[in-house]
């Protein structure tokens, strides 16, 4: 198993967080342990350059994955594993899903293969807060994720909006903007998921704001806070915990999921019946029709 080959290091980064954050995080971990959750695997996905790797680093508290600011990031998925007091945290950072204005299905395939035999507890769907519009591409990504991992993944998903500390145009309220942006994105997710089935109950995918920048405002406890005053790291981990414990099932990636259902096998048993149907109900009637054509063919006068 690939997980075993990975060296699981002690989660040292947690100590770099301000004490207030540390306390909150340990509290949340304790809560998870209480619920018998000893391992947490988080999958981070999103477009390129939205801050996936930075978010991973922020959560771990150290520079665990390379952030490639201008480049399309790491061409392959990377898993960072940290353990603390018998609790293991795995975060899978992935390459951006967009390439040249299209969904990169190869990248998705690569991610799926990388995740073989792993169980995904939480999906962080990362996008930027400071984008004003939701376009077709967003829909396509959501659709691609749904198609590849199933609808269930959205019950285990968080929408993470980075660059939360943004300067807004005059007269725009921060909270109003945030809720509008989240709503727009959620609408896309809902449309994709609901579009197929209506049995998705309850709210899916809570939205969490994130600011990875080093210049992020800090509060009196030295915690990084959002313009609205929330300390975002504990908030993020708290929301993750909530999602983990929301009663839905985590997603195990097996061979079947990677390859998808084999379309070649679908309906194979029916082929003899289909063929018989075609013979008796299509070919035969057409032959009969032709024969009647021949019989009643409007013959020229001399025939």
């Amino acid at each position: 198993m690939s997980m075993a080959s990975q060296i699981i290091r002690e989660w040292m980064g947690i100590q770099q967080f301000p004490p207030a954050t540390q306390t909150k995080l340990l509290e949340l971990l304790g809560k998870l342990k209480q619920e018998d959750v000893n391992t947490l695997t988080i999958l981070v996905m999103g477009k390129g350059g939205v801050g996936k790797s930075s978010t991973v680093n922020s959560i771990i508290g150290e520079k665990a994955v390379a952030v490639s600011t201008f480049q399309s990031e790491g061409p392959r998925p990377v898993m960072v594993s940290r353990s603390r007091a018998g609790f293991t945290l795995n975060i899978v950072d992935t390459p951006g899903l967009i390439e040249g204005g299209y969904v990169n299905y190869q990248a998705l395939q690569l991610i799926k293969r990388f995740l073989l035999n792993k169980t995904i507890d939480v999906l962080l769907y990362v996008d930027r807060l400071d984008v004003y519009r939701v376009d077709n591409l967003d829909k396509q990504i959501v659709r691609a994720i749904t198609e590849n991992f199933g609808e269930g993944i959205w019950k285990r998903a968080l929408i993470v909006l980075t660059h939360a500390q943004l300067s807004l145009p005059d007269g725009l309220d921060y909270d109003v903007f945030c809720s509008k942006r989240s709503e727009a994105l959620l609408k896309v997710v809902h449309a994709e998921v609901r579009g197929k089935k209506n049995d998705v109950h309850g709210s899916i995918a809570p939205v969490v704001l994130v600011e990875n920048s080093g210049r992020c405002t800090k509060n009196e406890n030295d915690e990084k806070v959002l313009p609205n005053g929330t300390a975002w790291i504990p908030n993020l981990v708290k929301t993750i915990t909530e999602v983990v414990l929301n009663g839905s099932k985590s997603l195990h990636v097996d061979k079947k999921l990677i390859e998808g259902p084999n379309p070649n096998e679908k309906g194979k048993m029916l082929i003899p019946f289909i063929f018989a149907f075609q013979y008796f109900f299509i070919i035969k009637p057409i032959i009969r029709a032709i024969k009647s054509d021949v019989a009643k063919e409007s013959k020229p006068g001399w025939k």
């Binding site: 679908k266 082929i271 075609q278 057409i286 032959i287 054509d293 020229p300």
Partner: protein, 809 residues
């Protein structure tokens, strides 16, 4: 007496002799004027060749009607003739033999019931004289004072007179009739012609005996310039009015023979004679078969009779023309009205010789035209002949043309002639002769070509000269049963033929159920290969080049085709093939490739084959049924065509492929306006509706996936530009408006993968960034074989001009 001029061209000797005969029988005539009421008249009306100009016109018509088969022939590289020896001449001759009339007495007590008087009329005037006497000929001046009237008999027998003018004077109406009058056609004399006295007398005799006139006279007026102005004054024959008409087919019956009446007969004897004649005629009518003439034409003639009151010669002429027109319009080219009988009774009898086929002869000729024993079995030819052409039917030119086309489609003959000729032994009968020149049984052909391949730097070098070409052979008509073997090998480089070697070997075995069995099944076995660019591995819009995948197929095919009609057929058989997928450089390719943004190529695309090895073998059953009821109306196709095809995998081959791949195509050509059919008439506007569904259950390798986009799928897109899917639906509509000699059209098309692109392994639609569906619309014009069209691709909203060969539907 001149007659049969037109036929003379065609059947010279016999007619001439008959003409003489007819002239000898003239004296019997006058009886019609003696006892007009009781006269029973037979008009041996000339067929449709009344005037000298007509024969050529007629020939032209025949030629015109033949131009079609001729065109077919030239396309097929063979020559066809449908030669119609105008039997009409023969007919006329037959009848003409007895150009006499028996006088009809006995009318007094006959009380209107027709009695045995006959006369027979020969309208056919002729050009015999006109031909002999060319206008440029020398002529003699009349040598008489100008402006005096002179009797024909007073003319000198040694002079050649020039007629500068001819007038017709209708005594009954008291007017001079113009050349447009139907009688004019019966006179062979033409203004400007040069004639001797004998000829003029003959002409007069002909006119007098033809039965159209009770009385005819010729008078000449001398002109100052030495020429004569002729006045023909006539009294049209009339008979008692009739209200019924009966058409009978007297073909193959003995023509009534003139019986010389003894001038010394007593009144009683004469009565006896007439009565016996009447009886004979009645018997003859009873023996005769009914005519093909439909009730509508019959009714039309009845109306003519009623409108006219008295039956006049002109009316009979009209009736004759109407009846013959119907026959000739229907293609009964040999039919003609030979006689009118029972005149002066309530029921006129119209005697028609329809042209019954007494014999069908198939003859093979060698290259020099000598009759030889052919290699082809007669049954092969005979089964292509329409029933109408067999013995006992009435000859129809359309059937002849049909036979010509059918035989031509056998592709066995270089020359085909369908030739009706009069049966010498059977009066009114037609022998249909089919003369065939066989093509060589064996042929082989080698064609070579050099191609220059750009070498280094784009410049051709010596080494880049490639010899290529095709070697083919054909062995046709094995055992005279039209079985054939043909083979061909084509390569663009003989030095390195493995690069691209196309071969085909085919055996065709028609008449699987026997050549005498009407069931028409053909067995075919072939061994083939092909190389095609796969449209599955094509990029969507905005995707730069997708490295191509070539699909090579090689295999065996055996199938049976049952032809129900010329267009509707059912084919079923077995296909065994090996499919190899290769990349640009001919290396076997396992997966589709894609170009990465970095410029590199990754070979992790969708799998190309089912086995995953790049080589698949499979065997499957293939059935195709086509119901095609389309026909051409003035060049526009109208009707409907339905095609269903199914490939049923048998689980034999790599990875035991088991599948059912099916396609249903429905096309309707709706005629939007009624139009008159005929040559040079404009075609109707047509609305074309088209639907195509394709689906597959079970194993579906990429090369068998249905692709969307392309000139035969959704126009305006490249082949496969819209996607490759497991199930597809294509819908199209096109409206065709005739413009001048061609047509313009506008179309709308849509193709949809029905969400089944993901059901193709590797989802090539998604990998190559295609939409999976798309619409287009556009308009175009047909220029000969080429269609020029502007199509707008609805996905991107851009349009482009395309030139395509052939038809979309």
């Amino acid at each position: 007496m001149s007659s049969f001029a037109a036929p003379t061209h065609l059947l010279p000797t016999s007619t001439f002799s008959r003409r003489k005969l007819s002239s000898t029988t003239v004296p019997a005539r006058s009886s019609s004027s003696v006892a007009p009421r009781a006269t029973n008249i037979q008009c041996n009306l000339s067929p449709s060749l009344p005037s000298p100009q007509n024969p050529s016109k007629r020939n032209k018509n025949i030629l015109k009607s033949l131009s079609k088969p001729l065109a077919i022939a030239s396309a097929a590289g063979a020559t066809l003739f449908l030669r119609l020896t105008p039997i009409i001449g023969g007919e006329g001759g037959g009848g003409g033999g007895d150009g006499w009339f028996g006088g009809g007495g006995g009318g007094d007590n006959g009380g209107g019931s027709g009695d045995g008087g006959f006369w027979r009329k020969l309208i056919c005037p002729e050009s015999a004289i006109a031909d002999e006497n060319n206008e440029s000929q020398e002529w003699d001046a009349h040598g008489l004072p100008a402006n005096i009237m002179i009797q024909l008999s007073k003319l000198s027998g040694y002079k050649k007179y020039k007629l500068s003018e001819i007038f017709f004077f209708d005594r009954r109406r008291g007017v001079t009739v113009g050349t447009e009058d139907s009688f004019f056609e019966m006179v062979s004399l033409r203004p400007g012609g040069v004639y001797t006295k004998t000829q003029l007398l003959k002409e007069l005799e002909t006119l007098a005996t033809c039965g159209m006139f009770e009385k005819v006279d010729m008078e000449c007026k001398t002109k100052p310039d030495g020429t004569l102005a002729m006045q023909i004054s006539f009294l049209e024959s009339t008979w008692q009015s009739a209200d019924r008409i009966r058409c009978i087919n007297v073909g193959l019956m003995q023509q009534s023979k003139p019986i010389e009446m003894d001038a010394d007969m007593t009144e009683k004897e004469k009565m006896e004679f007439y009565r016996s004649q009447e009886k004979d005629y009645k018997r003859r009518i009873e023996k005769a078969r009914p005519c093909l003439l439909p009730a509508t034409v019959h009714a039309e003639i009845l109306q003519m009779l009623r409108d006219h009151g008295k039956v006049s010669a002109r009316l009979l002429q009209k009736i004759r023309d109407r009846v013959q027109k119907w026959y000739h319009d229907e293609g009964y080219a040999c039919a003609q009205v030979v006689n009118f009988g029972n005149l002066n009774t309530r029921e006129v009898v119209c005697e028609v010789v329809e042209g019954d086929i007494t014999q069908l002869v198939v003859q093979f000729q060698d290259k020099l035209g000598n009759v030889v024993e052919g290699n082809t079995q007669l049954a092969v030819v005979k089964r292509e002949l329409p029933k109408q052409l067999r013995q006992g039917n009435v000859f129809n030119i359309e059937a002849g043309k049909q036979a010509l086309r059918n035989i031509n489609s056998l592709a066995l003959f270089s020359n085909i002639e369908v030739n009706p000729r009069p049966d010498e032994k059977n009066e009114g009968g037609i022998i249909v002769e089919i003369k065939l020149k066989e093509l060589d049984q064996k042929s082989a052909e080698v064609s070579a070509e050099w191609s220059l391949v750009p070498g280094r730097g784009g410049r051709p070098t010596f080494a880049s000269l490639q010899p290529g070409g095709t070697v083919s052979f054909e062995h046709r008509n094995l055992q005279g049963l039209n079985r054939s073997i043909l083979g061909s090998v084509t390569t663009s480089n003989f030095l390195n033929p493995q690069d691209d070697l196309a071969f085909k070997l085919e055996y065709v075995h028609p008449y699987l159920d026997g050549v005498y069995n009407p069931r028409n099944r053909t067995f075919r076995a072939s061994c083939f290969n092909s190389r095609k660019l796969s449209p599955v591995f094509t990029g969507g819009p905005g995707v730069d080049e997708v490295p191509p995948i070539w699909v090579d197929r090689a295999g065996l095919k055996a199938n049976i085709t049952e032809n129900f009609t010329r267009q509707s057929k059912f084919t079923y058989g077995l296909v065994m093939e090996e499919i190899t997928t290769r990349d640009e450089s001919s290396h076997i390719s396992l997966n589709g490739q894609r170009v990465l943004p970095s410029g590199g190529i990754s070979a992790d695309g969708p799998p190309t084959t089912l086995s995953g090895t790049g080589i698949d073998q499979m065997a499957f059953l293939q059935a195709n049924i086509t119901r095609d009821n389309t026909k051409f109306i003035n060049g526009a196709i109208v009707g409907e065509r339905n095609v269903f095809q199914v490939d049923q995998g048998l689980g034999i081959g790599s990875k035991f492929p088991f599948f059912n791949r099916h396609q249903l195509t429905l096309t309707r050509f709706v005629q939007l306006k009624k139009v008159e059919e005929g040559a040079n008439k404009p075609p109707p506007p047509v609305l074309v509706l088209h639907g195509h569904y394709g689906g597959c259950v079970g194993d579906l390798p990429s090369y068998d996936a249905f692709t969307l986009g392309g000139p035969y799928s959704v126009r305006g897109y490249n082949m496969g530009e819209l996607g490759a899917a497991r199930n597809i639906l294509e819908l199209g509509a096109e409206i065709r408006i005739p413009v001048k000699n061609t047509h313009m059209y506008a179309f709308v098309e849509h193709g949809n993968d029905l969400g089944s692109s993901k059901d193709v392994k590797g989802n090539p639609t998604e990998v190559y960034r295609r939409m999976g569906h798309g619409s287009s619309y556009g308009a175009g014009v047909k220029l000969g074989l080429v269609r020029a069209e502007y199509a707008v691709d609805h996905n991107t909203g851009t349009g482009a001009l395309f030139f395509r060969f052939g038809e979309r539907f």
